[in-house]
C-alpha cells in the first residue's frame, strides 16, 4: 500500500466525520508520510508501520462519537458511541454491550415503575367510571400513596440516569484506552 492508497482508504472510512475534522486527521498522517520519506523510508514501509487504515479509522470514529456524547447526550449519540466502541473488536462486544444492556434495562424498569405509580390514581378513576359498583375507598388511598412513591422514584430515576450516563461515558473512555491497542492484530 502506498501513501495515496493509505490516505484514500482512511478517508473513505472517515466519511461520517465533518470535513474539518477529516482534513485535520488526514493532514497528520500526510505529515507522517512526508517526514518518513525525508528520512529515506519508502511509502510502503511507512504505510505498513502505521497499521491498517480501517482499524485506525474505527478508533478515530469511536473517539469522535464518545466526544459527541459528552457534549450533547441524546439517546442516539449514546447508542452511536456504544456501537463505535463495540466495533473496535470482539472483546468489546462482551465487555461493553453486556453491561450496557443490563444497566439500560434496569433504568427502563425503574422509569416504568415510577410512571405506573404516578398514574395509578388515574387508573382508579377509570376503574370507577367503568365499574362504579366495585368502588372501594382504600383503592383511592392506596393509589394516592403509590402516586407519591412514584413521584419519588421518578426524581430518583432522573438522578440515577444522569449518573449512569456519566459513569458509562467514563467506562467507554476507559475501554478506548485499554482494550484495542498496540498492534493492529489484537
Amino acid at each position: 500500500m502506498n501513501k495515496s492508497q493509505f490516505l484514500s482508504e482512511m478517508e473513505r472510512h472517515l466519511s461520517r466525520l465533518s470535513i474539518d475534522e477529516k482534513d485535520d486527521i488526514l493532514q497528520d498522517y500526510e505529515e507522517y508520510f512526508s517526514i518518513g520519506i525525508e528520512e529515506g523510508k519508502t511509502e510502503t514501509e511507512i504505510a505498513t508501520s502505521l497499521g491498517s487504515p480501517k482499524q485506525l479509522a474505527k478508533e478515530l470514529l469511536a473517539n469522535y462519537h464518545i466526544e459527541k456524547m459528552e457534549t450533547t447526550t441524546t439517546t442516539r449519540n449514546m447508542f452511536r458511541a456504544v456501537w463505535a466502541v463495540i466495533g473496535l473488536g470482539f472483546v468489546n462486544l462482551v465487555i461493553v454491550l453486556g453491561p450496557f444492556l443490563v444497566v439500560l434495562s434496569l433504568l427502563l424498569a425503574g422509569w416504568i415503575t415510577g410512571v405506573a405509580g404516578v398514574l395509578s390514581p388515574l387508573l382508579v378513576i377509570v376503574n370507577t367510571i367503568v365499574n362504579p359498583d366495585i368502588f372501594e375507598w382504600y383503592d383511592v388511598f392506596f393509589s394516592l400513596a403509590f402516586c407519591g412513591i412514584g413521584l419519588f422514584i421518578l426524581i430518583g430515576m432522573y438522578y440515577a440516569s444522569n449518573s449512569v450516563k456519566n459513569v458509562f461515558l467514563r467506562y467507554l473512555k476507559f475501554n478506548l484506552s485499554i482494550v484495542k491497542g498496540g498492534t493492529n492484530h489484537g
Binding site: D28, E31, Y32, S34, I35, G51, L56, V179, G182
Partner: protein, 110 residues
C-alpha cells in the same frame, strides 16, 4: 503478540506520550519514533491518542516551519496535562513495584 501484551501497551502508550512531552514540545513523527524505538507498537495508533488527549486539553498544538520540508504540528503539554502525567506516573510506579515484588518473591521460592 499476546492479548495481555496488547492491552497493556495501549494504556501505557498514553503515559509514554505524556512523559516525552514533559521535557520539551515534540511533533507527531518524533513521538512515534521515540516510542517505537523502545516498544513495538502499531505506529498509527499514536495519532488517535494525540487527538484524544488534545481534546481533553492535556496538550495544545502549534505549527512550526521546518528547514527540511513542510511545517510540523508540535504538541505542548498544558498544566492540566502535567497534573495528569504526575498522577499516571504515580499509579504506574505503584503498579510496577507491586508486580516486581511479586515476581521477586515468586522466583525466590522456586
Amino acid at each position: 503478540m499476546t492479548a495481555l501484551n496488547v492491552q497493556f501497551k495501549k494504556g501505557v502508550l498514553e503515559l509514554c506520550v505524556l512523559v516525552l512531552l514533559d521535557k520539551k514540545d515534540r511533533y507527531g513523527y518524533e513521538l512515534v519514533q521515540k516510542i517505537s524505538n523502545q516498544i513495538e507498537i502499531s505506529e498509527g495508533t499514536v495519532y488517535p491518542l494525540l487527538r484524544r488527549l488534545t481534546k481533553e486539553e492535556y496538550f495544545t498544538t502549534y505549527l512550526q516551519e521546518s528547514s527540511e520540508g513542510p511545517s510540523r504540528k508540535y504538541y505542548r503539554l498544558t498544566d492540566k496535562g502535567r497534573i495528569y502525567l504526575h498522577q499516571l506516573v504515580g499509579e504506574w510506579k505503584e503498579f510496577s513495584e507491586g508486580v516486581n515484588q511479586l515476581i521477586k518473591e515468586g522466583i525466590n521460592h522456586e
